[in-house]
């Protein structure tokens, strides 16, 4: 008899653990651009609330939105807005994609530090990426062929650049298309004729950011929308966030959370 009771209690305890954990567990997935923000914020939040367990995964903006639709994550990160098709799929599945803006991000155009060019106009930038201008001397720079470095055509960063700079016309077929911000930064730093673009958080001393339409990408020019290549970063939820998801997102948009955002090299929304 005693053994039986013990057995029943054990079974109940095992069953209770996941039910109990449900309220303390938050899954965040999606954009690799938003990933460092989500990770740092999750660590800070879990330090304050040790009983909470937040797991953060990457995967890309599409994965973030798809996992909200599939219900496999509570928060889906995206460095772009949800596409019409994704909104439609969500509606079909009874999901209401709700966009929470958590940070600002500027895309800085960078060249090798040995390049004498300090600024370009949006039109010049477009003609470089379209493959029309092929040598730096045509723009008043050194006599060197321009090495165009772009991000992969499916990355959120490419999409924003393609939209804001290229007006959706094609990037030259000979452009290098690299898989991450870090790869672009590394390649620009060791390729003398290179031009590339990275998130503001990836600027470092080995690459040179240039002005676009005479505006330097800085926190201020991105916040007041003066700098032309800027975007907002999002965390999607199913409907208005509730429960732990709401607490976590509230934390990120709070003054303390935005400090973390800035610490990761992004620009605060306040």
């Amino acid at each position: 008899m005693k053994f039986k009771i013990l057995a029943i209690l054990t079974v109940l305890a095992v069953l209770a653990v996941p039910a109990f954990a449900q309220d303390n567990r938050l899954t965040v997935a999606g954009s690799t651009t938003v990933l460092p923000i989500a990770q740092a914020a999750a660590e800070a939040y879990m330090d304050m609330h040790p009983e909470i367990n937040i797991s953060v995964r990457g995967g890309g903006s599409s994965v973030g939105i798809a996992s909200i639709i599939a219900g496999t994550a509570d928060i889906g990160n995206a460095s772009r807005h949800a596409k019409t098709k994704e909104l439609a799929t969500a509606r079909e599945n009874g999901i209401n994609l709700y966009e929470n803006v958590v940070a600002n991000d500027g895309i800085a155009v960078v060249v090798n530090p040995s390049n004498s060019i300090n600024g370009l106009t949006t039109a010049q930038l477009k003609s470089i990426y379209a493959g029309e201008v092929q040598n730096w001397k045509e723009l008043g720079g050194p006599n060197k062929p321009i090495v165009i470095i772009s991000r992969d055509t499916s990355s959120g960063t490419f999409e924003v650049f393609n939209n804001l700079v290229m007006s959706d016309s094609p990037v030259a077929a000979g452009a290098l298309k690299l898989a991450s911000n870090n790869a672009v930064a590394t390649t620009v730093s060791n390729t003398p004729g290179a031009i590339g673009y990275v998130g503001l958080g990836y600027l470092n001393a080995s690459i040179k950011a240039i002005t676009i339409d005479n505006v330097m990408p800085t926190k201020k020019t991105i916040q007041n929308k003066e700098y032309p290549i800027a975007r907002t970063l999002h965390m999607y939820t199913n409907g208005k966030p509730t429960g732990l998801a709401k607490k976590f997102i509230d934390f990120i948009v709070s003054a303390k959370g935005q400090e973390i955002v800035e610490g990761q090299g992004f620009v605060s929304i306040n």
Partner: protein, 287 residues
């Protein structure tokens, strides 16, 4: 039959059935997700158009540039790895003394143990600026860079498999050749190597399969430009790199998603054929 034995038998039986189920599951889902690309583009445009603009409007799904990129880096890798791998195999099997052999063999196999991302980092951070400096080319991430890195990765496959094949050649053949007055070089080139031919060919084809399917390295060092290269110093975008780079950012069920699976089908067919050739070569030897 003993009960224990029966259990053991059924466990191994289930294990072998499982692998077959997994294999067919993967093949089925590959074709199930990949074939719908033909609703958006004709098979001729898919295979023979060189315009890969999957996110443009309207999108273009021509993978000729990607196939060309894959073959350029893979053939480049073989040009580098065949002489190195085969040379190492001949040295270890035929020339080196026992002590040198015992040191050299595991060292070369150690090359196979280095994670591909480490190779990729090496190509990106060291080889790329080195190529720019030495060859005075504008771009360091190109087909040549990827060929060198892939070539080094394939060396242990070719050398260890060829070495196995060479060492199974019976000693009587070598002795007969030497007795007839042939020197060591002639014995190796005209007797031992031809006798081990099928094993050597298999190792090269296996190396080909490894190089064409390798993803991380080409993603990091090939440059990623979807174009048919004019020279080996042009950046290219091999098939595995395309799938790896774009899948994570593609909405499921879109034409782009199916096109990426379509690329995976082509890759699968290429590696499948290379494995068939190996089976054929080995079978012929056994007969």
């Amino acid at each position: 039959m003993d009960f224990k034995e029966k259990i053991f038998q059924s466990i191994t039986y289930i294990a072998s059935i499982c692998t077959i189920v997994f294999l067919f599951g993967i093949i089925l889902s590959l074709f199930f997700e990949g074939l719908p690309v033909l609703n958006f583009t004709s098979i001729k445009d898919f295979l023979f158009s060189k315009d890969w603009y999957p996110t443009m409007f309207p999108p273009k799904f021509g993978i000729l540039s990607l196939i060309a990129g894959s073959f350029v880096v893979t053939l480049g890798a073989l040009v580098i790895s065949i002489p190195l791998g085969l040379g190492a195999a001949i040295y270890i099997s035929e020339i080196a003394n026992k002590r040198v052999k015992e040191i050299l063999k595991p060292l070369i196999e150690l090359l196979a143990g280095i994670p591909s991302v480490v190779y990729g980092l090496f190509g990106m951070a060291f080889l790329s600026p080195f190529l720019i400096k030495v060859f005075q080319v504008p771009i360091g991430l190109n087909a040549f860079n990827a060929s060198i890195i892939l070539g080094i990765m394939v060396v242990p496959i070719i050398s260890s498999m060829s070495e196995d094949a060479l060492s199974t050649v019976p000693n009587s053949l070598r002795e007969a050749s030497l007795a007839l007055g042939a020197n060591k070089w002639e014995t190796i080139m005209k007797v031992v190597l031809p006798a081990a031919k099928s094993g050597v060919i298999s190792s090269i084809i296996l190396g080909f399969g490894r190089a064409i399917g390798e993803t991380m390295v080409v993603l990091m060092v090939a440059g990623g430009a979807a174009q048919i290269p004019d020279s080996i110093f042009d950046p290219v975008r091999p098939m595995p790199a395309t799938v790896a780079a774009e899948m994570g950012e593609t909405a499921i069920g879109t034409p782009h998603f199916h096109a990426l699976f379509g690329i995976a089908i082509i890759l699968f067919i290429i590696t499948f054929i290379s494995i068939l050739i190996i089976e054929f070569v080995v079978m012929r030897r056994k007969k």
